[in-house]
Symmetry: C2
Subunit: 412 residues, 2 copies
């Protein structure tokens, strides 16, 4: 329990200032003062300290000669070079590594096509280590410049402990990637559920910027769930990230894990025979099979679209349950191929609409978002940057400072 003392006070207010600058671009001191509701005096003191630490820098170029009469505002922005972080995403068939600066701009990224599930955890750690070192080097940096690394992967992750309890892409359990990579790379390394990374990326950089409550449902080989609640990433009691795939979708009897009904992997199994029919090539690669399925569905093949619809319905069932619990104004369905197909999404929407009680019928907006590797890397970066910004409590961003991104100054 942290008792409140002047230091905490300063830490909180410093975070507000940093957060305002991060979110609303270059800002002058007056603007910060208005946004944060801190007095100009305090803002001046805090920005002075931040400038001193080189976390922010003045934007000198005359920039917006903003029609002003008096002394011009000095715009302040994050110092991109204040720190650099590395982000890693482990997917079943690929390791993605990236390096970003303090603003979350991706300086360099690297994709290693590796069938992860065939490797031991220690081999994967080798590959990650090499990938990070290479990526850092390619960005013209030295490991000494890197402030932290975050690894995202699907499954049940205990962030605080730095351990992956269980993952569909790992054979082993309780893999301590955190400590391992910290030791290998000589920088603080954290791990988290991959969906949490997209969730944070959406919150910091994406469609849910400034939104304090939303869900991210990630559909790829496996299923993931990210929850932002009250501006904070939601984690279970022990810091365990919730795993959507483990949710059960059918009560006793023909029970089924959601991952076995609605993930890309399960859909492919379901559709395998179907696809084999018209195809000369007997062996279908993962990606190709899915593409084929989607193409056929789009072309009007009822049986193919039926498979997708079943998956969408199953997921919609789960999403409806989550909406009754969290009542989020926005639900983001993210993924690569399948998630963006209408043959999947429409049944999902319909299922949600059918299952939701009337009182919650219109609270949630379901939107679809195709991600690329950059999102993951930015998410991983944000996860690490959050610490550097000095948030004194476990938040990814406090209550929205104001409704409009930048209200006209002057009045108020």
């Amino acid at each position: 329990m942290k008792t409140a003392d002047p230091e905490l006070m300063r830490a909180i207010n410093r975070f507000y200032v940093m957060d305002a600058i991060r979110r609303f671009g270059p800002l002058s001191r007056v603007e910060i003062s208005q946004l944060t509701e801190l007095s100009p005096t305090t803002v001046s003191a805090i920005t002075a300290a931040l400038l001193d630490d080189r976390l922010i820098i003045p934007l000198q170029l005359g920039a917006v000669r903003d029609a002003g009469r008096g002394r011009p505002r000095v715009m302040l922005k994050l110092n991109p070079d204040a720190a650099h972080v590395a982000g890693v995403k482990l997917a079943h068939d690929q390791i993605t590594v990236g390096v970003t600066n303090f603003c979350g701009d991706i300086l360099r990224s690297l994709a290693l096509p590796v069938r992860i599930d065939r490797q031991t955890a220690s081999v994967i750690a080798d590959l990650v280590e090499d990938g990070v070192r290479r990526c850092v080097g390619d960005a013209g940096l030295d490991m000494a410049h890197i402030s932290g690394v975050c690894v995202g992967l699907p499954g049940v992750v205990e962030r605080a402990a730095g351990v992956c309890r269980q993952s569909p892409i790992l054979q082993e359990r309780d893999v301590p990637f955190g400590a391992d990579l910290s030791h290998r790379l000589g920088v603080p390394a954290s791990i988290d559920s991959d969906v949490n990374l997209v969730t944070l990326a959406e919150h910091w950089f994406g469609q849910a910027r400034g939104l304090n409550d939303f869900l991210v449902v990630n559909v790829e080989r496996s299923l993931g769930l990210g929850i932002l609640h009250n501006g904070e990433l939601f984690r279970g009691a022990n810091g365990l990230s919730p795993d959507l795939g483990d949710l059960m979708v059918r009560p006793s009897g023909g029970g089924g894990r959601l991952a076995d009904l609605a993930s890309e992997a399960s859909v492919l199994i379901e559709a395998e025979a179907l696809l084999r029919e018209g195809e000369a090539d007997a062996r279908l690669h993962q990606g190709r099979a899915l593409a084929l399925l989607l193409k056929r569905a789009a072309a009007g093949d009822k049986r193919c679209s039926r498979v997708l619809a079943a998956a969408g319905e199953a997921l919609g069932f789960a999403v409806a349950g989550l909406i009754t619990l969290f009542a989020p104004p926005k639900v983001i369905v993210s993924g690569r191929a399948m998630a963006t197909s209408d043959h999947f999404i429409e049944p999902l929407r319909n299922a949600v609409a059918a299952l939701l009680p009337a009182s919650l019928a219109d609270v949630s907006d379901i939107i679809v978002r195709e991600w690329n590797d950059g999102n993951w890397v930015q998410g991983a970066a944000a996860m690490t940057l959050r610490d550097l910004y000095g948030a004194p409590w476990g938040t990814t961003g406090p209550a929205p400072i104001r409704e409009a991104p930048l209200p006209p100054l002057g009045e108020s």
Copy 2:
């Protein structure tokens, strides 16, 4: 967004002090200092202010002449008469009203047997008003002594707005009980989901004292869900309390609301024909029918126990889903009659065990708790008292101050 200033600092620390006293009985200043990790100076200043406000009082009776040599400790405790609050619970067939003091002790309570669903909201408000006034009077108090009232009822409640969006015991929707009762009684009135009240009662006074994460599943006529997460009552995005009854238990097809499968009301409908069989009396009253069902099941009637088991399994399905999301160390199943029956609970436990993924198999302890009217009233009281304690952030109690209830002093 509240900026940090000295005032907030003081508010936070004052809350820590109050919370320590509330939780660990009469305490001396040194003990408070050790528990809260605040300096003795600060504790002295804060307690002086609290004594000044008469929120706490010294416990003069020589009490534990605690084998000491030096200046004896002055034990401080909450002043029971610092404030009084009223709590109200609306159930389908009864209105329960109670008045407690600042310590949560129930001074007086009153149960009005009313079939609420036959009345309009305004009649109910009349009854509540009269009940509160009577109860306050019977406790030897005047409405002027009452600092606040909290009403609990099943359904979807938007606490912040003081509105009950929808409730199984009300015909009307969007009933603004909060503003209405504030106006009628002339004191601040809040409303909340009834389960939230038991949840808070368990956290403050009951089995989950000091536990920061647990679920309460309340089984009576309808189903309720209370979630304590990170020491705070969990609410959906708009402050909406989640409603377990609205959760869907079966995916598309023979879909069903959980409330239609696992609540007492649904079980009775299911079992109606069954019960009528051997019974001369054609019309069975609610409570009697349930008692009869339980008795027959206990006597070995397979068909009756089957009905209960089906309900237990359906609820178990939902609980398993909640455990995968929240990973709470404890799940409390509370209720009056049905919830405590083994014919209901064992199937529930089994369903949970069967549906939970291996990685979460042992995280949650499911316990059963029979409540009485007092629990509700205490919960409602706690809900109001929380504000009086001056918690500056929306918590029901911060991180546990220390593991043991009261560690031996002296060393440190």
